[in-house]
Amino acid sequence: MATIELQNLRHSYVPEPKGPEDYALKHMNFTWKDGGAYALLGPSGCGKSTLLNIISSLVTPSEGKVLFDGRDVTPLTPDQRNIAQVFQFPVIYDTMTVYNNLAFPLKNRGFSRQRIEERVREIAGLLEIEPLLQQRAANLSPDNKQKISMGRGLVRDDVNVIMFDEPLTVIDPHLKWKLRSKLKELHQSVQTTMIYVTHDQTEALTFADEVVVMEEGQVVQIGTPVELFEKPAHTFVGHFIGSPGMNILPAEMNGDGPSFHGTAVPVANPPARLEGNERLEIGVRPEFVRFARKGESGLPVEVLKTTDTGRYRLVFARAGDTKLHAILPEDESEAPTGQAEVIFDPERTRLYADGWLLEN
């Protein structure tokens, strides 16, 4: 177990990178705390697998260092770094039994028979695959194969970190949920640092204590699921997390506060100082949008349609040519139609400059 530090890391798959667009991973400094459950979240192609492969040493970074507990491990091979990785598709040694599959990493490291037996039984118990131990691994279902892949990662109790690279891709939806809670449970019982890569926000938010959101080769925000939801540091995070994502409206400064098409919109972070040439946007989650009651005045919108999900009602509206979502609780009476006015919760409405949250 170890604290993992990334120092001035950069990586490019191009031999002689010219501009920042050639870098799959832009400049990065980051520390993964010992024993944490992290999720690495981002759309496909954002560099999260590259980052993972750099930590596991399957990829050597173009620049920068990887430190385990302060020791530079950049030149070390994957087995020297003593890490475990579970891949997107199950990797199974076809000719071996399930037992031998799980024992393989231990045998290669010369553990005693008795110790191997002990560890394999324990991990098989945790993963609930004990009845399969003597079967040939080749004929199992995809979810059991993936459990074996995970088991091979978990079987060594001295690994520095276990990494999961979108491990539930091939699993049936109803088993996904089960395996995910299994993993969470496993993390609590083994206390090893785990990094879970995914592009699925539900997976990330349920698994991790801390979520690292990446976009285009850089980390845009690190935070607990609640922080990501309530205070997105970047419009990308607001948009990517949540279903539907955060509403983002172009804004201009009008006196002290921002406004949208001439209507002042109070925000939680009124800017202290602006350069004047930033691209300003207002971000508010659909959960914090409500329709104006009688006597209140708000932002005029045109309601396009309302769908009822059973738990809440989702209103699709348009303000000017900007789309707007609002989530209304089930108990409220008639959903408005046609022309209406909306009010944003000022404590939960934030102003962004060039995509980034303004500090106040």
Binding site: P78, D79, F104, P105, R109, S149
Partner: protein
């Protein structure tokens, strides 16, 4: 029960295939069976001979010796070509500029016609003029393929290895490149040695293509005719007379149609039985 549609016109569409198969396989095979149970004295006169020819062939020392020789040849070339082919495939690059170069180089021997291969090696092996023959003699080995049975065998096997190892290489290579990178990465993380990677990842993933390779090389080498015939003509003496060469001698040389037919049937059954047993064993554990 499902209703079956009767449509006599369907036979019309099947007819060309039936005709083709009838003329190129079924009728010739029946003719062979016909010959194998009859005695003929020319003038198209045939007399029933029962299983006499089969008994004669099975008890003939000449056939037993030829079969043994054939088995030995097939065993040796399989024992050389399979490991060699796999080894070459393992060293070939997986991507980049050299991939097409290697593939074309490997495919070249396969493109040369059988009789040309035989003629080429015949000249190659001439003790005074041939590159191989002259070189070996230059090193002090009194090499002469036409008088020394060992030299004849040596040349014949070398020729087959040159001609057909590429097939094993190409099949193995196809099996190797289909292994996803994740398997190699997982093995590195699991701390597997190079030998373990071969034993537990590459070999199992190549199992199917290697099964095909063994079957093809077994059948082809068991049926081999042109190359050794052009190279040595079965000599010196009978030392390189393989099954098909002997069969042609009996059938077309001595015009003993009955024994030749019986021999081809026995020969055919050996190839069929071995291939069936081998294939069944290799695919026994496959998931359906």
């Amino acid at each position: 029960m499902a209703h079956k549609t009767e449509n006599p016109r369907a036979w019309l569409f099947v007819a060309p295939v039936l005709l083709l198969v009838a003329f190129n396989a079924f009728i010739p095979l029946m003719a062979v069976i016909n010959y194998s149970v009859q005695e003929s004295f020319g003038n198209n006169l045939f007399f029933w001979h029962g299983i006499g020819w089969f008994e004669q062939i099975m008890n003939s020392e000449r056939f037993q010796a030829t079969l043994l020789r054939q088995g030995f040849f097939t065993f040796i070339i399989l024992a050389i070509e399979l490991p060699l082919g796999v080894a070459i495939a393992l060293t070939m690059p997986k991507k980049g500029f050299w991939v097409p170069v290697c593939l074309v180089l490997m495919a070249l021997p396969l493109l040369v016609p059988w009789n040309v291969v035989g003629a080429m090696w015949n000249i190659f092996a001439l003790p005074d003029l041939g590159l191989l023959g002259a070189t070996l003699n230059g090193f002090g080995w009194e090499y002469n393929m036409t008088s020394d049975p060992f030299d004849a065998w040596f040349t014949m096997i070398l020729m087959d290895v040159w001609h057909w190892t590429s097939l094993v290489v190409l099949l193995s290579y196809a099996g190797l490149v289909s292994i996803p990178d994740a398997f190699y990465q997982a093995a590195r993380i699991d701390g597997a040695s190079r030998l373990s990677v071969f034993r537990f990842i590459e070999l199992p993933k190549m199992k199917h293509v290697l099964t095909i390779a063994v079957l093809l090389r077994f059948m082809d080498s068991f049926k081999i005719y042109t190359e050794p015939f052009v190279l040595t003509g079965g000599g010196p003496g009978n030392s390189t007379t393989l099954l098909s060469i002997d069969l042609v001698k009996i059938g077309l040389g001595q015009f003993d149609l009955g024994p030749a037919a019986a021999m081809s049937l026995i020969y055919f059954l050996i190839v069929l039985t071995f291939s069936w047993i081998f294939y069944t064993l290799m695919t026994k554990n496959d998931p359906m």
